[in-house]
Structures are given as C-alpha cells and as structure tokens.
C-alpha cells in the first residue's frame, strides 16, 4: 500500500524580552541555578503574576508577520499538573482565546511553493529545569527559566513529508530571527519542536491515529525523528497492528522514538481562566504601532531579490533565510561592480562554505562586505581570474590582509600582456608535438592539456580568455 504522511508541528519559541512574562526577573541564559528565580518564579505563597506587555508585543509582531488574525481580547488560562520544575503546580498559558489566531506561512518544496496553515499561536510561560547530574542521586531544580515568555505556534496538519516539516521549521526559525522576537537558539532551548505524525493510505481523507513526538532539538533530528516514526507506523499498519495515540520521546543517540505516555495516561490539565489575570485587551493603536515597526519579511525580500537582482528563487530564498546574510549580500552587491548574480554565488558559495567550516555566524564574519567587494572588483577589472580569486579569498579569510595586498604580495596579478602570453603558448606548443598532432587529427579535448600546461607555467595567472584566444589562433595556423 502507498502511505501518505501527515505532519503538524508545535513550536515553542522563547521570546526575547529582558524580564519574564509575569515578573521582573531576568531572562538571561546561563546564570547560576536559581539566581534568576524571584518570589514569583519560585511561586511563594501570596505572589501574583503581572503581564509583561513586551511579550504581547513580540507575539503580535509574529502574528502580523504571518498575516494572522490578532485577538484584541485574549485570555490566560491555567494548565494544571504537578512536576517539580513547575513551581505553581500550573502553567499560565492561553487556551480558548489565544493572542494569535489563524495565519499561514509559505514554504519551498521540490514541487514549488506551498502554504502551511498556522492554527494559532498563544503566549505562555516556560517551566524550570530538573537537574540530575552531580547531585548524588538526588534531583535539583533550576527555576531560572521558569516564567520565560514563550509563544507556542501550532500548525495545521499540512505537511506531507519530513522534508516539508524541516522546510517549515526553517522558515519559521528564519522568521522569528528576522522579526527579532527570538534568538532561535535550539541548543539553549529557545526554539523547540514537537511533531504530530500520522499516516494514512493515499487518497484517504480521514487522518490516521497520530503520535506526538517530543524533545526534538535540531533541524536534522526533526527529519530523522519523523522518518523513524513514519517507518514505525508503516510497519505497524502493514503488520495489521494499530498505531496508538500517545506521546513519544525522540532519542537522538539511538535515533528512535519511544513511548512516554499513552492517551489513557495523558494528563487532564483542567484548564480554566486564570483568575489572577484579567483578559488581555489590545487596542488598535498598539497593533498599528507594531505593524509599522515590522521589518521587510523573508518572503517579501526573496521576491524583491528575484525581481531587483534577477536571482533565481532558490538562491533568493537561501540568501533571505537569514536576515544578516541577506543584509551582507545587499551591501556587497551595492559596493561591487560584478553582477548581483556573481555576488550571490560568492555569498552562497565560498563565503557560506567558509562560515560553515569555521562554525561562525555571518554576524561574526571578519571580511566586511566592502573588502569582499574589492576582491570581486579585481575579477571584473581582470586583475585576477575567478580561480585565483578563490585563493585570495582563502588568504583573506585567514587574515593575511586585503585583496590587493594579497594579490601584490603573492604576485597573483593576472598576465594580460598579449606578447607574454603568446611566447608562453608558443613554448608549450613546441614542447608538446604529440598533442599538437592529436589536435590536428581532430581531438578537440587535448586543448585542455595545453591550457593546463600554460597555467602551470604562469602559476594560473594568465588571463584565461586571452590564453584560449591565442591558443586557438596558433593551432589554427
């Protein structure tokens, strides 16, 4: 049987506010355990939550960016359960009326663009963390994170493959960073993903029974976890067995999902409106102000890059997936004489590869757009060839100086003197009688051999067009 995969994602995004959602405690990551746990964070008797409006501002920003309905009146609710890292015994969240309603995000797929629906995005507070290491068999609780603002973004079950899920996730990740509402750091837990996965026979309208996979903390793991889960479900169904509705945990070390709790064991969270917090009412001016402050969004920027710079959609998508990368490209193309397409190739090619290899972010790059522009201009003005430029780039990356300094100190300036090139060509042809004969016999391929020999003699500095031209002239004689 042919199976169709159905995926919906729930993404928890930590919002970049200075203080917590319901108290004045700091949200900074990495402090000593419990040093950022104020009276409210540890839920002392008698303390009360007070809404940090900045969190609402960031949530609205997200809602507006995905064209979602913003609820002018939203309601905080208590989600009740016991766990040591949940100090109040309930999490303040939103249940019936979330701040952000229906919206959509466009993703790229191999079959072209596709719209993924967003069911809702609601505000809530993060829990603390349990610590099990170096505590002599006891567990510790760190409540620094307790009360950090989150939005939980719930998608419609619109994705049909792990690849689409990853594409959606990347799009969302790029968007929250563009908007400046989250640092999106997956290692530190600022961007967390749970996946609802089910399968159904192709053509069937009804959804299959889903499993919710928790604890997936990288793009790569999302793909692996979903693929593992889909295979598991197919095996079950093809074995005439059943998928049961349950929560499963992804174990990245073993690359498998395993059952955490079944539907029967599922918590009854006993949601009810939090009587400590009146409904949050946002006025039009508040929303209008946020709308005005929205930056150009990745999708809009991608379309503009295609139109303005004549880039293909794929490259434009890659460039705009990261705001800083797109900014770098825009500066570069404005400063250099090469075409935007060549500039784009450099950014997505050598530059991105170097960033990946050195594991540094574009924001920490040492070669400024202006410095790279100079290098590209040296290709344009024929001081060096494209190939030599890569060598110069590597030297620049290693901090050996500016493009011009490196070209000079390494003597990489291109040989463009026709007489000089002619004499080298003549010399090579004289030394390669056999190959010349082959060429004359009609073997065109051998021309590559001549070029190689010439480049060897000039250390790659001979202008390739001139070499070609002169070579063909001489051979044609």
């Amino acid at each position: 049987m042919q199976w169709e995969t159905v995926i919906g994602l729930e993404i928890h995004v930590q919002l970049q506010t200075r203080s917590k959602i319901f108290s004045g405690a700091s949200t900074a990551y990495g402090a000593e355990p419990n040093t950022q746990a104020c009276d409210v964070s540890i839920a002392l008797p008698g303390v009360l939550p007070v809404m940090n409006i900045e969190a609402a501002r960031l949530a609205v920003k997200f809602g507006l960016a995905i064209g979602a309905q913003i609820n002018r009146r939203s309601v905080f609710a208590r989600k009740n359960y016991f766990y040591p890292d949940l100090p109040k015994g309930y999490q303040i969240s939103q249940f019936e009326i979330p701040i952000v309603g229906k919206g959509a995000i466009e993703i790229e797929t191999p079959d072209g663009p596709k719209s993924v629906g967003i069911t809702r995005a609601h505000l809530e507070e993060d829990a603390g963390k349990s610590l099990h290491e170096n505590l002599d068999g006891q567990s510790g609780i760190d409540l620094n994170r307790a009360g950090t603002p989150l939005i939980e973004i719930v998608s419609d079950p619109d994705m049909r493959s792990a690849t689409e899920a990853v594409s959606y996730l990347r799009k969302l990740h790029s968007l929250v960073r563009y908007l400046g509402i989250s640092d999106g750091n997956m290692q530190e837990g600022s961007f967390r993903c749970d996946a609802n996965v089910s399968i159904r026979p192709f053509g069937q309208e009804e959804y299959g029974t889903r499993a919710e996979i928790k604890n997936i903390n990288s793009f790569r793991f999302v793909e692996k976890a979903i693929n593992y889960e889909v295979d598991r479900q197919i095996d079950l169904l093809e074995d005439d067995s059943k998928v049961i509705q349950e929560t499963r945990l992804y174990d990245a070390d073993k690359d498998e999902t395993r059952s955490m709790r079944s539907k029967e064991e599922a918590h009854d969270y006993r949601y009810f409106p939090d009587p400590d917090l009146p409904p949050m009412v946002l006025d039009d001016a508040f929303i209008a102000e946020i709308l005005e402050s929205l930056p150009e969004l990745p999708h809009q920027r991608q379309l503009r890059f295609v139109k303005e710079f004549e880039l293909n959609a794929r490259d434009a998508d890659q460039l705009t997936s990261d705001r800083a990368l797109a900014d770098y490209f825009e500066s570069l193309q404005a400063l250099t004489k090469v075409s935007p397409r060549i500039a784009s190739n450099w950014v997505l090619g050598d530059l991105s590869a170097a960033l990946n290899q050195s594991e540094i972010e574009i924001t920490d790059i040492r070669i400024s757009a202006k410095e790279l522009a100079t290098l590209l201009d040296r290709i344009e003005d024929k001081t060096i060839s494209g190939k030599i430029a890569k060598e110069v780039f590597t030297a620049m990356w290693n901090g050996e100086g500016s493009a011009d300094q490196i070209i000079k100190s390494k003597g990489l300036k291109q040989i463009t003197d026709t007489d000089a090139i002619e004499s080298i060509v003549e010399q090579v042809l004289a030394e390669s009688e056999e190959q010349v004969l082959q060429y004359r016999d009609g073997n065109q391929k051998v021309i590559g051999y001549f070029v190689g020999q010439i480049m060897k003699k000039t250390a790659g500095k001979a202008n390739p067009q001139q070499v070609n031209e002169i070579l063909r002239n001489k051979l044609g004689q």
């Binding site: 540890i42 002392l44 009360l48 007070v50 015994g89 006993r270 009810f272």
Partner: protein, 484 residues
C-alpha cells in the same frame, strides 16, 4: 486603655498620655494572659516593640499620622517579612515569609505596630475556626462556642480587646460572619479595592482583605490605609479611594435600604430575625427608607460558591507540594508518593475535601456542567444585585442565620457549616462591599450581626450607615464579660 477606639488612642498618643511602647506592652500582656482563646498563632513581640519605639520617635517629632503607634493583629494569611506565615495549615508550619504583603506594607508605612499573626481556618476554608491545624479559637462571649471563621482569631482578638483592630480576609463571609458572631464591626471592601499581593490565595476571584474592629470609624480609618491600587496585583483597581472617614458623619436621611425577602425567610433563627428587624426600625428612625427588593437567584449562591471557590482553590493550593518550602513528608517512595504523602499529611480534612471538589469540577467532561454553569449563575447573582441597586442605596439583612454555635456542633456536617455563609457569599460572587455590625443579642446573650451590602466601590455608604447606626444604638460598645 484597651477599650479605647483608634481615634482615642491617637489622641492620647499625641498628647503623651502614654507611649506606643506602653500601649503595645499593654496589649502584649493581654495577649499573653488570654492565650487560652488561642487567637494568635504567632506573637511578634519583638517586632512590635521595635515598631512601637519607632512610632514613638515619629510621634515625638510631630510626624505621626492617625494610625502611627496603633497596635494591630494580622491574619496569618497575610505574608509578613521574617515572620512565620502558616495560613492555619501544617503545610506552612515552617514557612517564614521573605516579604511583606502589600496590606502589611501599607499599614506599617502608616506606623502601625504588628502584635502578631491571628489564628484562622486552614487556608481560610471554614466558618468556625475549627479547621486550623493550630487548634480551634474560642469565642470570648462564651468559651465553649466558636468565634466564626475563617478570620476567627482576628475576631476573638478584637472582641477580647487583645488588639484594637485586626486585619482579616473574606472569600465567602470570613470577615463578616466572625465579626457578627463576636459582636464586632467587620468590613469586606469591593473586589479590587485592596491588593491581594502577599495574601495567600484561597479563591482568587473572591478573596478580599478587610478589617475587624470594634466600631465603624476604626474600620473606615484602617480600611482607607489598606486600600488603593497595587501594580503587583493585576486585579487591583486603579481608582481613587474615597475619604471613608469624612462621610461617616453624613446624615442617612433619605437613604433607601433594600430588604431582600430572600434574606428574611425560614432559615433565620427567630432571635436573629428579631434583632435585625429591630435594627432596621432604628435605621428608619434615623430617616432611612426601606423597600423590598428581590434577589431571586440567591438560593443558588451556596452551590455556585462551592463550585467556583474550590475550583480556584484546587489550583491555588497546588504550589504546596513539598518541593521548595513548607512541610514535606518524612518518608516517601518516589516523586508521586512525596506529593501524596506531603499533601495528605500537610492539609487537613476540609482543605482536602475542597481540593477534591475543585479538581472534580474542573475535570474534563465535568467542566461545562459545573464550572461553566457556576460562572453563568455567578453572572445572574451579580445581575440581581445590579437590578436591586437601581431601587436602593444599600441592602440590609442578617449576616449569618444564627449566633455563635458550640465548638464541635457542626463538624460532622459540612453542608450545615457551609450554610453559615448563605447571606455573605453571594456578595463575594458579585464583588460588592459588605459590612457586619453588632445589632443586638440573642437570648443566650450572644451577639447578632446586621449585614449591610453596598454598591460596587461604594464602601462609603455602608460605613456611613454603620457609623450612624452605632451612634444611635451603642450595640458595638457591649463587651464580653471578663474582658472589660
């Protein structure tokens, strides 16, 4: 000395007739010699002496306000910095609060002197003060009887004149019913008038702090000091607090008092009904008009209250889990067992009952039938009051259906106990201000309470009427034998 009103104390302090330290020592001595009442869980004698000394300096420097140097007892539901704050529960038997409730901060800023923390029903759940882990409180009018609850310790302390005034809290009648049973004045302001920050939550949408005093003037003075917007409580109201004291002297001529026929039915003891009727006649003699009004949904007040209050309580009390502070069971097998043992041993029977009721009514499948339905009823009850207030300025009736009952009498029948609050808890459901004033004695020589309910945010009218009533009748001046 202990019989004086706050205004009289303030006058004596200003004149130097005695110092705040002397006044404080006097009350501390009375607390000690009347410890059999069990009105206090903690006596903060050291703190009191320090505060009194500071107050005396302010008085000497001519920087004193009306409340500077006046001793006060605090209900043990209010967090006080560096002081044991138990809420009458074993689960907080070792909890020293690291911070002050806003109410306490405000009173201390006025120079008031905290004598100690008063006994109460566990987490304010009870109408007799018998659910306290620290033992029942005795009613100074009859030591075999309850003082009412949950603010039973505050009421007993003020009735026995161990303190001139005590803070109290009221979720369904916990200020007004003990005030009635102890012959005192007890006011619960409108919801949102007084900050709930630092007041350990029972039912967040119903809880309000207020005061128990021996007369309306003292109540007006202290309530004014406690009231006002607090940015740390999102349900606190950012509206000006009226000058409660100034309006006390107004004539009540022409004031229209609504008498709901539902408050004068069969459930009320004849002595109570007679005393309340006589009080209403007094008010008419002072120029007030009475009319009959209807509160047709008041009969569902108790069921509505006993769904909503436990629902909120079940969630509010989840934080008492033995993890971060308070009592933790000595022995347990694993995490879940730790929760279960801690909460089974840490909470008393009534608290456990309400947590179970609350958990049940919020459970999936029952939520709509109980919680949502009760919310709808709450709206109807509130609308009844709104309608009634179109025709009257305040509403009057008995505070409780009976006078103080014997310790142990209603312990086996929770519903009979809950019915004590039949006239008070609808006022919390509607968020209105209510006051109980002493209005006579029954044939057992026990005080009867008259309940006055005001419009939303109109504490002034009920304080004014209460004050004029007290000037005319003097019932508030009666004192329990042996404590004069």
């Amino acid at each position: 000395m202990h019989q004086k009103s706050i205004a009289e104390h303030a006058n004596s302090l200003a004149k130097g007739e005695y110092s705040s330290v002397e006044l404080t020592e006097h009350f501390l001595k009375r607390i000690e010699s009347n410890s059999d009442l069990n009105a206090f869980i903690t006596v903060t004698d050291q703190l009191a002496r320090e505060q009194a000394t500071q107050a005396d300096q302010l008085i000497k420097a001519g920087k004193a306000g009306l409340l500077t140097g006046i001793p006060i007892a605090q209900k043990d539901l209010l967090c006080a910095k560096g002081v044991l704050t138990t809420c009458g529960s074993r689960i907080l038997e070792n909890f020293i609060s690291p911070y002050d409730a806003t109410v306490i901060t405000k009173l201390h800023e006025q120079g008031m002197v905290t004598l100690g923390k008063t006994n109460m029903d566990e987490f304010a759940m009870g109408s007799s003060n018998e659910t306290s882990f620290y033992g029942p409180v005795k009613n100074p009018w009859d030591l075999e009887r309850v003082p009412g609850g949950s603010s039973g310790g505050s009421a007993a302390a003020v009735a026995a004149m161990l303190a001139p005034v005590a803070t109290a809290t009221d979720t369904g009648g916990s200020i007004r019913q003990p005030a009635a049973l102890c012959g005192l004045t007890g006011i619960k302001p409108s919801y949102g008038r007084v900050s709930r920050f630092g007041m350990v939550a029972f039912a967040s949408s119903l809880d309000q702090a207020g005061v128990i005093t021996r007369n309306a003037e003292d109540a007006a003075l202290v309530l004014a000091a406690m009231s006002g917007f607090d940015p740390r409580d999102s349900t606190s109201l950012d509206v000006p607090v009226p000058d409660y004291v100034a309006s006390l002297q107004d004539s009540i001529k022409g004031k229209v008092i609504g008498l709901p026929k539902e408050f004068f039915g069969d459930g009320v003891e004849p002595d109570v009904a007679d005393a309340v009727q006589a009080s209403i006649r007094e008010l008419e003699a002072l120029g007030a008009k009475t009319i009959e009004v209807e509160l047709p949904n008041s009969e569902v007040g108790i069921p509505c209250y006993y769904v909503l209050a436990p629902a909120e309580a079940s969630s509010n009390l989840s934080r008492f889990d033995g993890v971060r502070y308070g009592f933790r069971a000595d022995e347990y097998l694993d995490l879940n067992d730790m929760y279960e043992q801690t909460r089974a041993q840490g909470f008393g029977e009534e608290v456990q009952r309400r947590i179970m009721i609350g958990t049940y009514v919020l459970s999936s499948g029952y939520y709509d039938a109980y919680y949502i339905k009760a919310q709808k009823l709450r709206r109807l009850i509130s609308d009844d009051f709104t309608k009634a207030f179109e025709k009257c300025d305040l509403i009057a009736g008995p505070t409780a259906p009976d006078t103080a009952f014997r310790i142990g009498d209603k312990n086996d029948d929770p519903v009979a106990m809950y019915l004590n609050d039949i006239f008070t808890n609808s006022v919390n459901l509607a968020g209105l201000p209510g006051i109980s004033v002493a209005a006579g004695m029954d044939r057992k020589n026990l005080p009867v309470g008259l309940h006055l309910i005001g419009r939303y945010l109109d504490e002034s009218t009920i304080l004014n009427v209460a004050h004029q009533f007290q000037r005319a009748t003097g019932w508030h001046l009666k004192m329990p034998g042996g404590y004069e």
